[in-house]
């Protein structure tokens, strides 16, 4: 056997006094880390297979298990980190480009954590959400630029197509294929119950989920998987995916092993074939092409659905957004470099794109300067981790936020970053029936509803503190934010002052 240069990253630690050898860990580990040794009469583990998904730890009835990071040490230095060394070994082994999943994990600044929120003291009152109405409803879509009246002088109240959200949070695009049927069922049911939307991603819409259409955003991506007229008309809105924060500039890749019969049917591709979406849309090589696709989709849906254009946050994002706003899109979704994915080339995930906070501030400011901010709504994602991130994003100018990693975590995801393996122990990023069934949508949808309900409560608390009782005027209210530990340039781009100013 050739030498394996990579020492197992994690160690399974089992408390022998606590372990009752119920073998639940063994039955629940798709990576086959645990097994019961008849010979020794106890459980043993193969650390090299462990991805630290925490399934065994969570399910162990006597809390006999924990997973720790191995303290085996490479001879690291400031230039050669253990991670870098390990990646060299892996590539020397395999000869391939490295693949990873979830968002950019590198130690770049998280601007959300360098922004603080205001509260009222004396000069105006804070508002108690337990005692006063506190409104979180928002509409997404174009605002009419002219007011029209009928012959009696009454306002004509017809508005361009829009999305109505009870709280400015939506579940971001995750395709059926990359995640399981039960994960989709959980998202769809939760979106319906919450009065928000979930997003099909580029994998089409399973026929069982057409009933959730009023709470569904259907995506059209470069591979056009699962796109047909009924699909477009099934959703409340249509999203054209140009790019994604985790891997700007490249398309998706669904491994053939995840393409089972149902996925193949929904995506309209042969079973077992890799679903590789092209890097660009091959009918969009320029902004005027985008306009044509937007209007093709609007024609196909009789101008009844708002069209979202989703882009990754890249260097020139403000100018690109301005172009999109002038191309007939109703909503622009921007995905920051921390945004998650089921699989992306590691180098791209870790080195391409910019933080969503800066992209959002730049786009909002540019659209306002150009007087076209009301032509589009802005939705941001990648990564929104808490209600405080939502409040900060709205105050920086977003109309709503997209969450995906947080939603998956509510479903059980422990960020083990092995989605591409298709062996998700939590039944999320897998198509293996025995694993898929681990995610009971009754449980999943309830946990998602709980998460958003909790966030909504916290958002209302923070709004009340600021003396704001309706979220629409938190939008772009940057005076409610202060930076901490940021330099002049960062403050300038974010359009906020430093704490103490």
């Amino acid at each position: 056997m050739p030498l394996n240069y990579i020492f197992p990253e994690f160690e399974v630690v089992r408390n022998a006094d606590q372990c009752v050898a119920c073998r639940a860990c063994e039955r629940q580990c798709a990576n086959e880390v645990h097994h019961y040794s008849e010979e020794y009469g106890r459980m043993i583990a193969d650390n090299s297979k462990c991805v630290d998904c925490q399934r065994c730890v969570t399910i162990c009835p006597t809390h006999a298990l924990k997973i720790v990071k191995s303290d085996n040490t490479f001879r690291e230095n400031g230039n050669w980190s253990a991670q870098t060394i390990k990646e060299i070994y892996r590539q020397a082994d395999s000869g391939g480009a490295l693949l990873s999943s979830m968002g950019n994990p590198q130690n770049y600044p998280v601007y959300w954590d360098k922004i603080l929120i205001n509260a009222s003291q004396v000069t105006n009152p804070s508002i108690d959400p337990l005692r006063e109405p506190m409104e979180t409803r928002v509409f997404l879509g174009k605002k009419p630029s002219t007011i029209t009246r009928d012959e009696n002088g009454e306002l004509v109240t017809k508005r361009p197509p829009r999305l109505e959200l009870s709280v400015p949070i939506m579940f971001s695009a995750m395709s059926y294929g990359s995640i399981s049927y039960n994960a989709h069922a959980s998202l769809a049911r939760a979106a319906k119950e919450l009065g928000i939307y979930y997003n099909t991603g580029e994998g089409g819409l399973h026929e069982d989920f057409y009933c959730y259409g009023p709470n569904t955003i259907v995506q059209v991506a470069s591979g056009r998987f699962g796109v047909h007229k009924d699909y477009l008309n099934a959703g409340a809105g249509i999203e054209i995916k140009i790019g994604q924060g985790a891997k700007p500039g490249i398309g998706g890749h669904l491994p053939g092993k995840k393409v089972n019969e149902d996925v193949s049917h929904t995506r309209m591709i042969p079973m077992g074939s890799d679903a590789i979406s092209p890097a660009p849309h091959h009918d969009i090589y320029s902004i005027e092409d985008l306009r044509q696709l937007i209007y093709s989709l609007k024609e196909a849906t009789a101008y009844q659905k708002p069209v979202i254009v989703k882009i990754a946050a890249v260097h020139n994002v403000a100018a690109i957004a301005s172009g999109i706003a002038r191309s007939g899109a109703d909503i622009i979704a921007i995905d920051g470099y921390r945004g998650g994915t089921g699989a992306a080339p590691t180098r791209i995930r870790d080195n391409v794109g910019i933080p969503i906070e800066l992209a959002l501030a730049a786009v909002d400011a540019r659209l306002r300067e150009e007087g076209i901010r009301n032509e589009v709504s802005i939705v941001v994602g990648g990564s929104i981790r808490s209600s405080a991130d939502v409040v900060k994003a709205i105050a920086l100018g977003a109309d709503a936020c997209y969450i995906a990693s947080s939603a998956l975590m509510a479903l059980g995801c422990h960020l083990c970053r092995s989605c591409q393996e298709g062996k998700c122990n939590w039944g999320i990023a897998t198509q293996r029936p025995d694993l898929v069934k681990r995610l009971n949508p009754n449980v999943g949808s309830k946990r998602l509803v709980n998460l958003i309900t909790a966030w909504r409560h916290e958002i209302m608390e923070m709004m009340g503190g600021m003396g704001i009782n309706s979220i629409e005027v938190l939008k772009g209210n940057r005076m409610m934010l202060r930076g901490i530990g940021l330099n002049e340039k960062e403050l300038e781009i974010l359009g906020i002052k430093h704490a103490g100013e």
Partner: protein, 142 residues
């Protein structure tokens, strides 16, 4: 009345219910003490073949044949729960043969044991339900 129901769509075959059941009826405070190195004697059992799993425990039938078959009057229905008086049971196992679901089993003590919805132990609420990781076992009114 509330009963234990199992939905095989969500049963993962993890067998944890069996462990929780044994622990619940052990009378001990710690699961590790209750189960470590001891034989498992659950009142709920996972039936399985291939990818199909489901846990089975006493249905608490409206018209229970086990009670009818009991030769000593040890089995009785109290508040809709089928209860076994182990002082009266002589271990003839007629009930085991009579039960159409296979939900009654011999206890290590020689008499029989069956699910009494944890009303006969310190937990009061069925511990298999609380311990099921996927809400495959529910305790509800139907």
């Amino acid at each position: 009345m509330k009963r234990i129901y199992v939905n095989e769509d969500w049963c993962l075959g993890c067998h944890l219910c069996e462990y929780y059941c044994t622990f619940a009826n052990s009378g001990l405070e710690s699961m590790a003490y209750a189960l470590k190195g001891k034989p498992l004697s659950p009142r709920i059992q996972v039936e399985e073949e291939g990818e199909i799993h489901f846990a089975v425990s006493c249905r608490h039938c409206d018209n229970p044949v086990c009670v009818k078959s009991c030769i000593t009057g040890a089995l009785s229905v109290e508040d809709n729960v089928i209860h076994c008086d182990t002082n009266k049971c002589v271990g003839c196992y007629t009930c085991i043969m009579a039960c159409p679901y296979g939900c009654i089993m011999p206890a290590t003590s020689g008499v029989i044991q069956k699910c009494e919805l944890c009303t006969n132990n310190a937990h009061q609420k069925p511990l298999c339900v609380q311990g099921c990781p996927n809400e495959a076992i529910v305790f509800e009114e139907r």
